[in-house]
């Protein structure tokens, strides 16, 4: 996979930061506006998929390798579980929204909803990482097949 034409590469270079920022925005403000961790994560994954398609596997490897993607995947899943377990440790129950009951933010602001923005970001990373992993594996598999 050597990548696509220079036009595609240039456009991708300009557009991808915005896509990434949009994905993070969608994930971060899920509790206020439509969106949330899942669509945000898929958009983040889509950004890297676009980069891979435009530039070819080898170029992207340095920025966002397969290994770092699957490490992100595992770590983000673990951090979601840990958020749940923290509630348990604090004696408020598994998956309790303990930050909301401790420090309720002002409604309609970013820092409201307690655990929710944190979990949303964790889910965003998780989904982004795992979907990029599966795409990259499929691409890799094709590359091996074509040899």
């Amino acid at each position: 996979m050597s990548g696509m034409s220079p036009i595609v590469k240039t456009v991708t270079r300009w557009v991808s930061p915005f896509i990434l920022a949009f994905g993070i925005y969608i994930a971060l403000t899920g509790h206020l506006t439509p969106g949330g961790g899942f669509p945000g994560g898929v958009i983040i994954a889509g950004c890297f998929v676009l980069l891979t398609l435009a530039y070819g596997k080898e170029k992207v490897d340095g920025v966002f390798s397969l290994k770092s993607a699957s490490v992100t995947d595992s770590l983000a899943s673990l951090s979601f579980l840990c958020m749940g377990l923290l509630g348990y440790v604090f004696g408020r129950g598994f998956l309790n929204n303990f930050i909301q009951s401790g420090f309720p933010g002002k409604a309609f602001e970013l820092l409201s909803g307690g655990n929710m923005p944190i979990i949303n970001v964790a889910i965003g990373f998780k989904v982004g990482g795992s979907l990029f992993v599966v795409f990259a594996y499929l691409a890799l598999f094709r590359a091996i097949e074509e040899e």
Partner: protein, 501 residues
């Protein structure tokens, strides 16, 4: 304590692939999972017999999701943990030459988490989600060997399983549309207030098809023999031993008995599906030559016994014969426990046979008792229990089912059960003749010597096969099996426990 049942396997399942990204530590993975299952076994034994609910996130039942621990779920928890522990003990030696074990044990752990989730949850949609966790990891595990046949079996299983899941989801959608709630206890309160039951019946039908696909009832069984014979041996033991029971029969009966208050005609339908699976599964098993395929078809047949017991219980409940209903339900659940032990024993044993001879074709091998007396003896105990020979546990559960059928006046059912027992005996006698007795046939591979790591799990399960016969004694039965049967029978008790009405 209850969230730990799901949180520990989830944590291990997330962690092992992460460690494998950096280093392949086969021994560490196996020991971690062994410790995990051991811990969970201890936890489920400590919790046995307790009746409690746990509110996840602290929200009261109809609003949040809750765990329910009653007689039935604590029994199922012990079965899952016990079989998982023995299977991991076996896999430690058996799987040690494979690669990607971090992913293997990770998926195994996630499958466990899914099963615990299904066993504990008190919410229909949550049951669907965790059922998917367990099912998806089992699809991947079936194809773990990555040979052509394994992949094909896995694909077939995946398609059938996905269709089943879609049907279950559609059933949930109908149920939500007609009662407006997802909590099982809340549903059972609201269902009795709905005037026109036709959509409840429709969602019941969808549930029976969906869970029937997961449990491999007879018209939906075609994936099971392929999947169970292609999976790595420890996974076959898990799939046949617990997965189809938890995902199929347990989940279905939880929803039908506790949630929908047994809509009319469903008990009859369940009984006849059970009788059909039992009979047809047995007949097909009779013609099999591959040991694992024979065991797989016999699983279909034995699942029939369990479904039949539960269905008969439902019939007697609706006829107003509570005592006999309890007996029939006890029969079904007793058979569930027994089948879990001896079918995992036999699948693990078939793995040992494959190690010794390099093949599972019954016509090409024989005389295993002379090659390896210990595994021969344990295999004999397994076949004798499954065919229902008196001192072993399989006999007692079949006896309870037959007694319930006769007392309740369902003579044709009793006849079918007896006839199927005869068929079961016939095909296991064939296994006896071909595999255990006589001279050594077939080439013995180099690794013919069976190490303790392989036969110790077999011995544990064989001792369970003999020991579980004790559950027939009324005193022990009253402690272990009766609360489980009553959990299904007394729907109001369940509602009270969850909603605190």
């Amino acid at each position: 304590m209850l969230p730990l049942f799901v949180a520990i396997p989830l944590g291990v399942g997330f962690l092992l692939p992460l460690i494998e990204e950096f280093r392949e530590r086969t021994r560490l993975f196996a020991v971690t999972v062994l410790l995990e299952t051991g811990l969970l076994l201890a936890l489920s034994l400590v919790k046995f017999g307790e009746k409690s609910i746990y509110r996840l996130g602290g929200w009261p039942p109809p609003i949040g999701i809750n765990y329910v621990l009653d007689g039935l779920s604590s029994l199922v928890l012990v079965v899952i943990s016990g079989i998982a522990f023995v299977t991991v003990l076996f896999a430690m030696t058996y799987m040690s030459k494979y690669e990607n074990l971090g992913k293997f044990y990770g998926l195994f752990s996630l499958m466990l988490a899914g099963m615990y989730g299904v066993a504990l949850t008190g919410d229909v949609f949550n049951m669907y989600v965790y059922l998917e966790v367990a099912a998806i990891s089992s699809y991947a595990l079936v194809g773990f060997n990555r040979g052509a046949e394994e992949l094909e079996a896995s694909f077939k299983y995946l398609i059938m399983g996905a269709v089943g899941s879609v049907f279950i989801l559609l059933g949930i959608a109908f149920l939500y549309g007609s009662v407006g709630s997802l909590n099982i206890a809340d549903i059972s309160v609201r269902v009795s207030e709905v005037s026109d039951q036709s959509f409840i019946l429709l969602s019941t039908a969808l549930f029976i098809v969906g869970f029937g696909l997961k449990a491999a009832f007879i018209p939906f069984h075609s994936w099971l023999p392929d999947a169970h014979s292609s999976a790595p041996t420890p996974i076959s033991a898990m799939l046949s031993g617990v997965l189809i029971k938890v995902l199929g029969v347990y989940a279905l009966s939880r929803i039908l008995f506790n949630g929908l208050n047994l809509p009319s005609l469903t008990p009859q339908l369940l009984t006849w599906i059970g009788a059909g699976s039992m009979f047809i599964g047995g007949m097909i098993a009779l013609g099999q030559n591959d040991l694992k395929r024979l065991l797989a078809y016999s699983s279909i047949s034995q699942m029939g016994y369990i479904t039949l017991g539960l269905g008969m219980g439902g019939i007697f409940i609706s006829q107003g014969k509570p005592a006999i209903a309890t007996l029939a339900l006890i029969g079904g659940l007793f058979h569930l426990v027994n089948h879990a032990t001896y079918k995992s024993l036999l699948f693990l044993f078939s793995g040992g046979v494959e190690r010794i001879f390099g093949t599972r074709d019954l016509s090409k091998i024989g005389g295993i008792t002379r090659v390896s007396p210990v595994s021969g003896a344990t295999g004999t105990i397994g076949t004798l229990s499954i065919s229902g020979v008196p001192p072993f546990n399989g006999f007692w559960s079949k006896l309870v089912i037959v007694i319930a059928a006769i007392w309740g006046g369902l003579y044709p059912i009793a006849g079918i059960v007896l006839f199927t027992s005869a068929i079961t005996l016939a095909y296991y006698l064939k296994v006896q003749r071909e595999l255990f007795l006589g001279e050594v046939v077939g080439e013995i591979a180099d690794k013919g010597k069976i190490s303790p790591g392989i036969y110790v799990p077999l011995l544990i399960l064989a001792i369970c096969c003999i020991g579980l016969g004790l559950l027939y004694l009324p005193e022990i039965r009253g402690i272990v099996l009766k609360p489980a049967a009553l959990a299904l029978q007394e729907g109001s008790e369940y509602t009270q426990l969850v909603l605190g009405l």
